[in-house]
């Protein structure tokens, strides 16, 4: 056996691949029972397994494969039609082969895996439709189609000498003129040693892309077998690590070389840098695999499950070529399978219900993968019954996840998100597939562990979409570096919602019986001091930053000393001895070569005793805000001198900061160039007669208001906050430029007459025709 070890290993690997393909083909065959191509392919694959297992003396495997082969040959010859029952039998056969292979992989022999039962089922299957009338067989068997394998896999042009001239190809593709090509050829004849493509390029007669394409077309295509090799993943991981080290060495070298100031050396170092980056990219690419790899098992899952549940489900896959890092694929596999099973079990209704609801008998389950920003989105969408928001809310109340009064005020999306809470299940009965109260929270945990996010949207009666947002690669994440104490920490950017600077005056940390909180747009945000959490000396409340973070559905503010910048960091696994601390998701090498710890945002939230209670508080708080949002409008509160001026938020297009020196003058007006337009400015302090000292600072804060093509900017001293207009106390205006005053956040705030302010900036703003100011810059 020793000598055969390698052969067996190869056989196992090859067989596993073949089996996955057979699974897919069998499910496909059920859809098109007359496809001779599919039958032949399955037949060949099983035949290979049979042959090799015979050679390796795995007799039970051989017998089983033989039985499967016999049944297939009957299908192929049209002696017996393809029915769901035959497919089930064949799938069972494949499963038998799988368990035998698993035993061989584990023990080196077939162990005590029993296959007699399967074999007799196969025989029964063959005998059952034993001697079908010839008429039937001729009907079910399609007219013999010529095997078009040759057409499917074109033999590559074998003779290299048959390369077509580059010039001819360029002319044909319209990328070059015949006259240019002949003059270039003439130059070559006259002794120009440059290549034809080079001459054409240098004279600007064609475009680089066209030449590259033509050159590629010239090279004979390698067959699939020649162009792909199998590489052990460990080898790739090793390469990735080495490239990581190379990048660090490069960084150090580049830094050292910069100091020498030797320009030739600097150039070489930069070149080395570029090559290193490309190498790194290339290695990362080798780890990318199409998502098809994990999808390929799903047709079988869907088929088996829907059959056992008496449902009809068609599986549609879109974007299966979308690539993901291998380690991520592994991590996504189980959650995805769970979502698919769940969709078949709970999403898609049984045929009778569907027909009664006016839908086709067959449900459709769509898997969709696509790139979006720096992420890959994977969706599992069904056209089933959809989530019943009322029932989820009721169940959540019963299970004690929320209180009844909370449920009444919650947004439907928030309610749907409750299905990701641990211990939640709306399944009315527990099936062997799902409904045991585990699952969705595990899906969520697993996806969040790899830095992804999961969400759900659903329309009752129309279907449900589960959406996974997965980072492109595990190894590199976008992160913010922050300072706390005298150390630097790294926070994954995916968790960061926004940053707030605490100056101690307009923005400040408050205490609710000792618990630090911050009013974020009128809502209390629980705060976690990073220094306290890490057991370091606790710093002051002024001149610090709050990072508004979200993890596990909790939102909280993390107080750090300083936020430095965003960068891409390479995540290194942290020594297992630090796992118990639970605060660190990993480590990374920072730009200066030091090790930086990556904070684990969700456990930070948990550890900081942001108990479920406080989370509930914040949810109810949110609901109160949302509830009152129905009556009052949202206002942007700004500071103008020592006055507070509120502007209705829905009239605001953008908030901008302009460097003071960018303000120019046009006549008596101040203007600034903005997105190719001349943007007129009006200083609210002038307009409102609040002649105060010019605030210090390099920049001015402006509120941009646009309508159609026109924009104006209102200059304020500072943006203070966004608040709800509770309209508790309100007086009409006594001053020009205001519509009134109100008490907002316990302070008297003036409400700006927006129209008046806009006209002060641009008297023609509301006139369609005249356009003296806003010409294209």
């Amino acid at each position: 056996m020793e000598d055969l070890g390698e052969i067996v290993g190869e056989f196992l690997m090859e067989s596993h691949e073949n089996l996955d393909q057979i699974d897919r083909d069998l499910v496909a065959l059920e859809q098109e029972p007359n496809s001779r191509d599919l039958i032949s392919r399955i037949f060949r694959a099983i035949h290979t397994i049979k042959g090799t297992s015979g050679f390796l003396a795995f007799s039970r495997l051989e017998t089983l494969a033989h039985a499967g082969e016999s049944l297939l040959s009957r299908l192929r010859d049209g002696v017996q039609p393809v029915t769901p029952a035959t497919i089930t039998t064949l799938l069972a056969t494949i499963d038998g082969v799988r368990s035998l292979l698993a035993a061989i992989e584990q023990n080196g022999n077939e162990g005590d895996v029993q296959v007699d039962g399967i074999i007799s089922t196969v025989h029964a299957q063959m005998n059952a439709s034993g001697n079908p009338p010839p008429a039937l067989s001729s009907k079910t068997a399609p007219p013999p189609v010529p095997l078009n394998e040759a057409a499917a896999r074109p033999v590559p042009d074998p003779v290299e000498g048959q390369r077509r001239p580059l010039g001819e190809m360029l002319v044909e593709s319209g990328a070059a003129q015949p006259s240019d090509v002949s003059s270039a050829l003439q130059q070559q004849l006259e002794g120009d040693e440059r290549k034809l493509g080079t001459i054409l390029l240098e004279e600007g007669k064609t475009v680089p892309a066209a030449v590259t394409d033509a050159l590629q077309a010239q090279t004979p295509k390698r067959s699939v077998a020649d162009s792909a090799i199998r590489v052990d993943v460990d080898v790739l991981d090793g390469l990735l690590n080495m490239v990581g080290e190379l990048v660090l060495a490069r960084n150090q070298l580049v830094r050292g070389v910069m100091e020498t100031g030797d320009s030739a050396l600097v150039r070489s170092a930069q070149r080395l840098g570029m090559i290193t980056s490309e190498l790194q990219e290339g290695i990362m690419k080798t780890r990318m695999q199409p998502i098809e790899h994990i999808w390929s098992k799903l047709p079988r899952v869907v088929r088996d499950l829907s059959t056992s549940l008496g449902k009809q489900v068609q599986l549609v896959m879109e974007g299966k070529e979308t690539e993901l890092d291998r380690s991520l694929l592994e991590a996504v596999k189980d959650p995805l399978t769970h979502l698919v099973r769940n969709a078949v079990d709970h999403g898609v209704e049984d045929p009778e219900t569907r027909v009664a609801a006016g839908k086709p008998r067959e449900g459709t389950l769509t898997l969709r993968a696509y790139h979006e920003g720096g992420h890959v989105a994977v969706e599992v969408a069904d056209d089933g019954a959809g989530l019943n928001v009322a029932r989820i809310a009721q169940k959540a109340v019963e299970n004690g996840i929320i209180r009844a009064d909370q449920a009444a005020t919650m947004d439907r999306r928030d309610i749907m998100a409750l299905v990701f809470q641990p211990g939640f299940s709306t399944a009315t009965k527990v099936t062997n597939v799902s409904g045991r109260g585990v699952g969705m929270d595990v899906v969520k945990t697993n996806i969040e562990r790899i830095g992804g996010a999961v969400s759900v949207d659903s329309t009752l009666g129309e279907g449900t979409v589960w959406r996974l947002n997965i980072p492109l690669t595990l190894a590199i994440i976008q992160a913010l570096t922050v300072d706390c104490g005298d150390q630097r920490y790294v926070v994954p950017q995916v968790a960061v919602l926004e940053l707030v600077f605490i100056d101690g005056q307009s923005t400040k940390i408050e205490y609710a019986s000792g618990a630090p909180v911050y009013r974020l747009r009128g809502k209390l945000l629980p705060l976690v001091r990073l220094d306290r959490t890490l057991g370091l000396d606790v710093g002051g409340d002024q001149g610090v930053y709050i990072m508004v973070l979200q993890a596990d559905g909790r939102r909280f503010g993390l107080v750090v000393d300083r936020v430095l910048n965003t960068e891409e960091v390479v995540v290194k696994a942290l020594n297992s001895r630090f796992k118990d601390i639970g605060l660190y998701a990993g480590a990374t090498i920072l730009g200066d070569g030091k090790v930086g710890l990556i904070l684990d945002v969700s456990s930070l939230a948990r550890r900081s005793h942001l108990a479920v209670d406080s989370e509930r508080e914040s949810i109810t708080g949110a609901n109160r805000a949302a509830g009152s949002g129905g009556t009052g409008e949202r206002l942007l509160v700004t500071a103008v001198g020592d006055r507070r001026v509120a502007i209705p938020l829905d009239t605001v297009t953008r908030l901008e900061e302009f460097p003071r020196e960018r303000i120019e003058h046009a006549g008596s007006r101040e203007v600034v160039q903005y997105r190719g337009q001349i943007l007129p400015l009006v200083r609210l302090s002038h307009l409102l007669g609040a002649y105060t000292e010019e605030p210090e600072g390099e920049t001015v804060s402006v509120v941009v208001y646009s309508e159609g093509e026109r924009s104006v900017a209102l200059v304020v001293d500072r943006i203070v906050d966004i608040a709800e207009n509770s309209t508790t106390a309100r007086r009409d205006a006594e001053e020009d430029g205001l519509v009134g005053t109100a008490v907002i956040q316990q302070r008297v705030t003036e409400l700006l007459d927006v129209r008046r302010a806009i006209l002060a900036a641009d008297p023609n703003f509301y006139n369609e025709a005249d356009d003296s100011m806003l010409v294209e810059a």
Partner: protein
């Protein structure tokens, strides 16, 4: 009679040794990233050619005060043991690599007690001084009680 090679180093004036084949390399390094809330014996993390290595402060393991991590500190980097990751021991000074006959070996003296006793597998009698052979796994176990 068999002899074994030991890499030796000093901590607080005492000579210690570990078998040479457990050592990956020895180097001095001066920038360590502290890990808040980690066991006290963890001196910090450092970057060994792109790999993040945990440095275990042998002084703390021996029940002494922490090593002040200012300026270069010597690291004896041990090959990954059970966990498969290399771990470093922070020591005061590196000694020689010595060949020791098994005859020079004696179990730790009965009078040796305290945290050191748990880390030591035996005593080697060298010319003029004693070398304590460390149990590598114990030495890097930062969850040992160190009181």
């Amino acid at each position: 009679m068999a002899s074994r090679q030991f890499a030796t180093f000093e901590v607080a004036g005492q000579l210690f040794g570990v078998e040479v084949d457990t050592v990956q390399e020895v180097l001095s390094y001066n920038e360590y990233t502290p890990v808040p809330l980690a066991p006290p014996a963890v001196g910090g993390l450092f970057n060994l050619r792109g790999q993040v290595i945990a440095a275990v402060d042998l002084r703390v393991q021996l029940g002494l005060a922490r090593q002040a991590l200012e300026g270069p500190v010597m690291n004896v980097i041990l090959r990954g043991s059970a966990e498969g990751e290399p771990v470093s021991l922070l020591v005061d000074r590196i000694g020689e690599v010595v060949d020791l006959e098994d005859e020079a070996f004696e179990p730790p003296p009965d009078t040796l007690s305290g945290p050191t006793r748990e880390l030591v597998v035996g005593t080697f009698k060298l010319d003029g001084r004693l070398m304590l052979a460390l149990d590598v796994n114990q030495a890097v176990d930062t969850y040992r009680a160190t009181t």
